[in-house]
């Protein structure tokens, strides 16, 4: 029967029905258990922030995407966070400042961002991530990448790559060039899109030395496997970039120890997060999926904006992207519905209720079919609502039949076997 009441949802947000929601649940739980195994403890930030406070930790890009409105009680602007990292930075810098460093924190929650409409982009983003605050040095950076790899393996991703960049390497090339802000922005845009020919054209007219030109032109091509580190050494001479390469090499050494280097690719021309990050940056890509599923990196300046300067690094997964990319794998891992629907046609329901309680205490998931109907209707319901088995306790309360919903395979089970805990499906 069609619903005649209009119930549209704003674009860019979604509801998840049980089958999909179970997969989301699986992703959250699996990631959380990886975080826990590396010693990370959960924090749960507030859903609303004072806009002025939140903006301390947001770059221009995210500021423009923030949902904001006014607080009737105070007249101040409040906002739904577009990213959880600034919130964690605020919590660490204010609420936790007297605790000993480092902090290993993880979180899980939804954020909102304005996006272009009609392009299939989400406004609601479900983030799950970690922040490691108070640690400098390559081992901390390597920890983030190794964890991201372990997370992807844990949720069942097969072919994937963690693509690493180094913001300081880029700064070494870009800082100190005699460019005005507009020129500098167009040069950065060309590098970001790896537009070599556009960059060539731009550089022709700019007042640069041959050395500066050749370094800039090298950037869009410095991506691939580990071999590009040597290429970068040869083509880029400035000390800041060389120091950044030293840092990268140390990180890669640790990653080899963790045994994750086969998943690493490098992109030294990656400009993403150039304004916000301060060292190693990375993104995770699954083979066959067009967008990054996770992103992270070092952001040493962020907690300082909340009055507590500390080195920090972290990453976050986009759970909707993971859900979409791994749908088939998650079907196997989280697709199973409830174990039993317990159907009992007799007048006395007490034995069925007791049986359900026994099965639950043994760890099974059981729902009672409370509606009065015949067995065929009960089986039909069980099939459509993703129950694995229909368990029928007949009117005599003595005969127990187990029907598998997928193929109708039927077996009888002795009630005593369940009571004694010997029953297994």
């Amino acid at each position: 029967m069609p619903n005649t009441i209009e119930t549209r949802l704003p674009t860019g947000v979604k509801d998840f029905l049980p089958v999909k929601a179970a997969k989301l649940d699986y992703l959250q739980n699996t990631l959380r258990s990886v975080y826990r195994s590396w010693g990370f403890r959960p924090v749960a930030p507030a859903v609303l922030e004072d806009l002025a406070v939140l903006e301390l930790g947001l770059g221009t890009d995210l500021r423009e995407k923030t949902f904001r409105f006014d607080d009737r009680q105070t007249g101040r602007l409040v906002a739904f966070p577009p990213d959880m990292t600034p919130q964690i930075a605020r919590i660490a810098a204010t609420r936790m400042r007297d605790m000993p460093l480092p902090f290993r924190l993880c979180y899980n929650g939804r954020v909102l961002r304005h996006t272009e409409q009609r392009l299939g982009k989400d406004r609601e983003i479900f983030q799950s991530g970690v922040e490691l605050i108070g640690l400098n040095g390559p081992e901390a950076d390597a920890e983030m990448i190794a964890m991201a790899v372990k997370c992807l393996q844990a949720v069942g991703a097969g072919e994937f790559t963690i693509d690493i960049g180094q913001v300081e390497f880029l700064r070494g090339v870009l800082n100190g060039l005699p460019l005005d802000p507009v020129q500098s922005r167009t040069v950065r845009t060309a590098i970001a899109s790896k537009d070599t020919s556009g960059l060539q054209q731009l550089l022709r007219d700019l007042p640069l030395t041959d050395q500066q030109r050749s370094e800039l032109l090298a950037l869009p091509r410095l991506y691939g496997g580990r071999e590009i580190l040597a290429q970068a050494r040869d083509s880029i001479a400035n000390p800041a970039s060389q120091a950044a390469l030293d840092n990268l090499e140390k990180i890669l050494e640790v990653l080899t120890v963790y045994g994750v280097e086969e998943h690493i690719t490098l992109d030294l021309g990656e400009m993403r997060g150039f304004d916000y990050h301060s060292g190693l940056i990375f993104q995770g890509f699954l083979s066959g999926f067009g967008q990054a599923v996770c992103a992270g990196g070092r952001y040493d300046g962020l907690t300082g904006r909340y009055g507590f300067p500390a080195p920090a690094t972290g990453f976050a997964f986009n759970l909707y992207s993971l859900l979409f990319a791994l749908d088939r794998i998650l079907e196997e891992r989280a697709g199973e519905g409830t174990d039993f629907l317990l159907f009992s046609p007799g007048q006395n329901k007490a034995p069925a209720q007791r049986l359900a309680a026994t099965l639950r205490s043994q760890g099974y998931s059981v729902a009672r079919d409370i509606i009065e109907r015949d067995q065929a209707a009960s089986l039909d319901y069980a099939r459509r609502m993703h129950y694995r088995y229909l368990l029928v306790l007949d009117a005599t309360q003595e005969k127990l039949t187990l029907i598998r919903t997928s193929d109708g395979e039927t077996n009888s089970v002795a009630p005593a076997k369940i009571e004694s805990g010997q029953f297994q499906i």
């Binding site: 790896k194 999926f289 067009g290």
Partner: protein, 220 residues
């Protein structure tokens, strides 16, 4: 699926030019010789797939990762501002994006004195950005085709459009005032594809670069 390399190509001339270019580096698709009404063509032996789409849709398919690689005019890229890599200028499909106006208006007109103007175009974003940078207020009228008609019937005094030979504009009594950008076809690549299929894609880019450097520049 993911071991295939998928191309999104604009239907028509550019698709043909692209396939001619790709053939020179050994990328072919015999299935395309007899296209019929099909939109997807496969070369199973080499694990290649080609999709024929509207040129304005090429960046969308590539940005979402439905295609790893696309060929599209720089005009479309400028207009849409998508998150993509564009590592190679393929140097065909050459034309220019220009501001034009009727010949009679041009004789007494000084572009340096424009303060607010009305412009008809298929490229509203490029037009707005271009004039905003010059400090000129522009009222854009978005059209989908036959832009040259707009000044003739008084819809807008000026237009922003592509010209290759300039024939259509001349025949409609229009003259170019300024060039906004020189346009050629670009190779675009999905960000994730470049990372997850980097060996295949780097080779493709390098091979193409070789023949583009050595081949004659195609124009017109």
């Amino acid at each position: 699926m993911s071991d295939y390399l998928t191309f999104a190509l604009p239907k028509g001339r550019i698709m043909q030019d692209s396939m001619d270019l790709f053939a020179r580096i050994g990328i072919t698709c015999p299935e395309m010789d007899d296209p019929g009404r099909k939109l997807v063509f496969e070369n199973r032996a080499d694990k290649l797939r080609f999709m024929a789409v509207r040129s304005q849709d090429v960046p969308t398919y590539v940005e979402h990762g439905c295609a790893d690689i696309g060929v599209v005019g720089k005009d479309t890229l400028l207009e849409q501002d998508k998150d993509l890599y564009e590592p190679l200028d393929l140097q065909f499909g050459y034309c220019r994006l220009v501001v034009a106006e009727p010949k009679e208006l041009r004789q007494e007109d000084d572009p340096a004195g424009w303060s607010n103007i009305r412009v008809a175009t298929k490229y509203p974003n490029v037009t707005e950005k271009y004039f905003a940078a010059k400090g000129v207020q522009v009222e854009v009228i978005k059209l989908y085709g036959s832009i040259e008609l707009a000044p003739l019937v008084g819809l807008a005094e000026r237009i922003v459009d592509l010209v290759s030979t300039g024939g259509t504009m001349r025949e409609n009594g229009l003259v170019e005032v300024e060039t906004i950008a020189e346009i050629t076809s670009r190779l675009i690549i999905n960000r994730a594809s470049l990372k997850t299929k980097h060996r295949r894609i780097i080779r493709l880019i390098e091979d193409l670069e070789q023949i583009i450097e050595h081949g004659p520049r195609i124009s017109g």
